[in-house]
């Protein structure tokens, strides 16, 4: 063999070994590895892959807010929501608004320090709110003009318009330190909350440690490990006994796993069908669903209990509004399933069954398309089950998966399966209120001036209680018009290791992530 050949072959043989050796080095700075013993004050929780805050623990980039609202454990908030979604104070000692609703004055406690030793003052609060107003990628702060720190313990919020439910927004904004905030804050957060970030392995896990200087009750769980996995990996982790609490879906729930039990958290994570309420004008609207009798008929003609049994294996509750069981909910929205009454309504309105069983009114066939987002299996199943149930009523329905790029446009003229559920009444406003430029609601064409007016008044109300009453009044119009047909609230399911006492959960919002650990500091192990 020539020298060149021998050399080349030697290099080729050695290079892979070198590369493989390099690839095997652990990527992290070597911290002394802590043993994963089963301590009585540590817990391992598994969440979905989407729960990992890609942009870090920065309130401006979705930590605590956005698609899935939860308490930002690393930071403190001014207010907090209670188990029944009322407002209570956290950092704030006093919250008041001016008569015209354009000025909110909040007094905060003076004994709070960040984990780096610096005291938390009103200047930090003002800094936080002014920052999130400018940079927030997931929250709407257009109602805030500016936040001003009057002195060390008083903050003034100057609003651009009256916003009576401002405390609900304050409940999800974590306060960041002005002296330690930079674009890299997300990876090295400093806060005053119950926990500190100990370690973050991107794509794999987060380790939180209790904050020893916390101003409130000391956390009972000193170490919380959060793992991010897909549904089947989560299931595998539970079967291997590696997790203490792991999220799961209804399809896995029928399995029996030794040493674990199924924990079900009620939620307001709802699924709903929008029914376009205007006739088709070329762009928006739907001739079949624009008939108010049609909408009312299908609302009482759908068997929600059967849907829950079939699709969710019983792990759910019927939904009649976006905000079931929350303080601003109007319980008159509940309807009884009555197939006969539904058919009677349809026939009275002129929808007569033809030879093939499908109804027709003045030549228009009762044919609808139910869309669902292509990646979502629960919505797909709900759409399929709705189609089956509508067929019984004499309505021809087919279900179709669409990507989000076309979904919003197509939903203007077709039925689509949505998911909502937030801890603020603002969601009702966003769904039902008309936009000023089109005169119709945003996601599905609908307009009711009385509903609009009442919701505007609710926002301008001068107390939370008064605003709750106004929100409820506004819902009377929705009950009559049924522009959105709410289907189910999906229970959030978890496998829990025996012996772990999970503290009482407030109603989970949309999304199956961090809300389970809202009160992880109150969890405990029994023996």
């Amino acid at each position: 063999m020539t020298r060149v050949k021998r050399l080349t072959i030697m290099i080729l043989a050695v290079a892979p070994a070198i590369m493989v050796g390099c690839a095997g080095q652990p990527k992290h700075v070597a911290e002394p590895p802590t043993e994963t013993e089963k301590a009585s004050d540590s817990v391992v929780v598994v969440m979905g892959m989407n729960s990992e805050p890609e942009a870090g623990f920065d309130p401006a980039y979705g930590w605590g807010a956005g698609e899935h609202v939860h308490e930002p454990l690393i930071q403190s908030t001014l207010t907090a929501t209670t188990a029944d979604l009322q407002i209570t104070n956290d950092l704030a000692t006093d919250v008041g608004s001016s008569d015209n609703g354009l000025l909110w004055t909040v007094k905060i406690r003076g004994d709070v320090t960040f984990t780096d030793g610096e005291p938390l003052t009103a200047a930090d609060v003002a800094f936080t709110y002014n920052t999130v107003k400018n940079t927030s990628s997931v929250n709407d702060f257009t109602m805030l003009d500016k936040a001003v720190a009057v002195d060390d313990t008083t903050v003034e919020f100057h609003m651009t318009r009256p916003f009576s439910i401002w405390p609900y927004t304050m409940a999800i904004v974590g306060i960041v330190p002005a002296h330690a905030y930079s674009p890299d804050y997300g990876g090295q957060p400093v806060g005053s909350g119950r926990y500190m970030l100990k370690q973050w392995d991107k794509g794999q896990q987060i380790i939180l440690e209790a904050n020893p200087d916390y101003y409130g009750k000391a956390p009972q769980m000193k170490k919380v490990t959060i793992l991010f996995m897909s549904e089947d990996s989560s299931f595998a982790a539970v079967k291997a006994g590696e997790a203490d609490l792991a999220y799961t879906a209804a399809s896995f729930a029928e399995q029996a796993i030794k040493g674990y039990s199924l924990f079900s958290a009620a939620s307001v994570d709802n699924r709903v069908l929008n029914l376009p309420a205007i006739p088709f004008d070329g762009e928006k609207g739907n001739d079949v669903t624009s008939d108010p009798a049609f909408r009312k008929a299908v609302n009482i003609g759908l068997n929600r209990e059967q849907m829950i049994l079939a699709v969710l294996d019983g792990h759910g509750t019927p939904a009649y509004r976006a905000c079931d069981r929350m303080p601003w909910y109007n319980p008159n929205a509940v309807v009884e399933y009555d197939q006969k009454a539904a058919i009677a309504l349809l026939e009275q309105a002129g929808w007569i069954a033809g030879a093939d069983g499908i109804r027709e009114k003045e030549g228009l066939r009762a044919e609808v398309n139910i869309l669902y987002p292509a990646g979502d299996s629960v919505r797909q199943a709900l759409a399929a089950e709705c189609c089956n149930q509508l067929k019984v009523l004499g309505i021809a329905a087919a279900f179709e998966g669409v990507g989000w790029d076309v979904a919003y446009d197509r939903a203007q003229s077709e039925i689509m399966t949505w998911g909502w559920g937030a801890h603020t009444p603002m969601e009702l406003y966003n769904i039902y209120h008309t936009m000023s430029d089109t005169g119709l609601a945003t996601y599905s064409p609908y307009a009711n001036a009385a509903v609009d007016r009442l919701m505007d008044e609710a926002l301008a109300a001068d107390s939370l209680e008064k605003s709750y009453a106004l929100w409820q009044q506004a819902q009377e119009g929705m009950i009559e018009d049924v522009p959105w047909m709410w289907l189910v609230n999906i229970d959030h399911l978890y496998w829990v290791r025996e012996g772990l006492a999970v503290a009482e959960q407030k109603l989970h919002p949309h999304g199956h992530g961090w809300s389970i650990v809202n009160n992880v500091d109150r969890w405990s192990w029994s023996a």
Binding site: A374, Q380, A384, E385, G403
Partner: protein, 292 residues
């Protein structure tokens, strides 16, 4: 008395020199080819017939193991897996036909154009290097993304990424033909370009082209299944094989292995049948290759 040569002793009923029905290799290839084509057509038709059953959901029947009424079991929405798989396979076969034909047409055009013209040839080799510089699946993802990720994206993506090797083959064939004696003689004798192409080139190209076309099918089908599996193709309620297999991934952990194994086996069988058909076609049209 006649002195006759004594005939050598013969066994009473000697076996025939050749058995009554002997199939030579060529006939065997032909029969195999016809069988493969027949099976694939049967699948395509059966799948089409099952289409409506494949879409029917019935949540009371969900997650059943294989049994008499549901030989492949049912899926998580209660749809019969056999009907769904057959429909999906039929869809794949038809999609494969469409994309492979389109791809082959592109290959024929590009290949011949490259052979005819020097600048086109340079452009051609540049284009091939360009397209092959990006890994195949990544190219498919990009094209499908550019077309909005639906059915159209899959068809265009698979069509535009398979023409290269066949085009190369056609190019070298046409180049060779251009130099061959009879073509040059025909040109000297005054035959028009068109006549040369039609009478001399096409009949010689056709066998290679057809074989290449049929051998494109398996690739087209596999890539279509792959890209659908990743989530770039049809919406999930459609019974495409890639979707069936990606849905089955969830249930493997729970032990429902039949949701992945049976549909996959049917797909592999389909692809194998296409491969068999292609190889038979090749040995039929190019007898020399039968002895490779």
């Amino acid at each position: 008395m006649n002195v006759q040569a004594k005939e050598p002793a013969r066994r009473p009923n000697p076996p025939r020199a050749t058995p009554r029905f002997q199939i030579n290799r060529r006939q065997f290839a032909l029969i195999l080819f016809l069988l493969a084509v027949l099976s694939l057509t049967a699948v395509a038709i059966a799948g089409d017939r099952c289409a409506s059953i494949a879409m029917e959901t019935d949540f009371t029947q969900k997650n059943l193991a294989p049994c008499l009424s549901h030989p492949f079991g049912t899926d998580w929405m209660g749809r019969d897996m056999l009907a769904r798989t057959l429909t999906g396979l039929s869809l794949s076969v038809r999609l494969g036909l469409l994309t492979a034909t389109a791809s082959a047409a592109i290959a024929a055009l590009m290949g011949s154009a490259a052979a005819m013209n020097k600048t086109l040839d340079a452009l051609f080799s540049w284009l091939i290097d360009l397209v092959m510089g990006v890994p195949h699946i990544l190219l498919l993802i990009l094209i499908s993304f550019a077309c909005g990720r639906g059915f159209r994206g899959v068809v265009i993506g698979v069509t535009l990424s398979h023409w290269m090797s066949l085009a190369r083959v056609i190019r070298s064939e046409v180049l060779q033909l251009k130099q061959s004696a009879y073509v040059q003689i025909a040109a000297k004798l005054g035959a028009s370009h068109l006549r040369i192409v039609l009478r001399h080139m096409v009949p010689n190209l056709l066998p290679q082209f057809l074989v290449g076309l049929v051998l494109l099918f398996p690739h087209a089908i596999l890539h279509e299944a792959s890209i659908t599996f990743l989530g770039f193709g049809l919406p999930p309620e459609q019974p495409a094989v890639g979707i069936i297999l990606s849905e089955s991934m969830q249930y493997l952990v729970m032990g429902r292995w039949w949701l992945a194994v049976f549909p996959g086996l049917l797909l592999v069988t389909g692809v194998l049948l296409f491969g068999v058909a292609g190889n038979c076609l090749r040995s039929l049209t190019n007898p020399a290759s039968a002895n490779e």
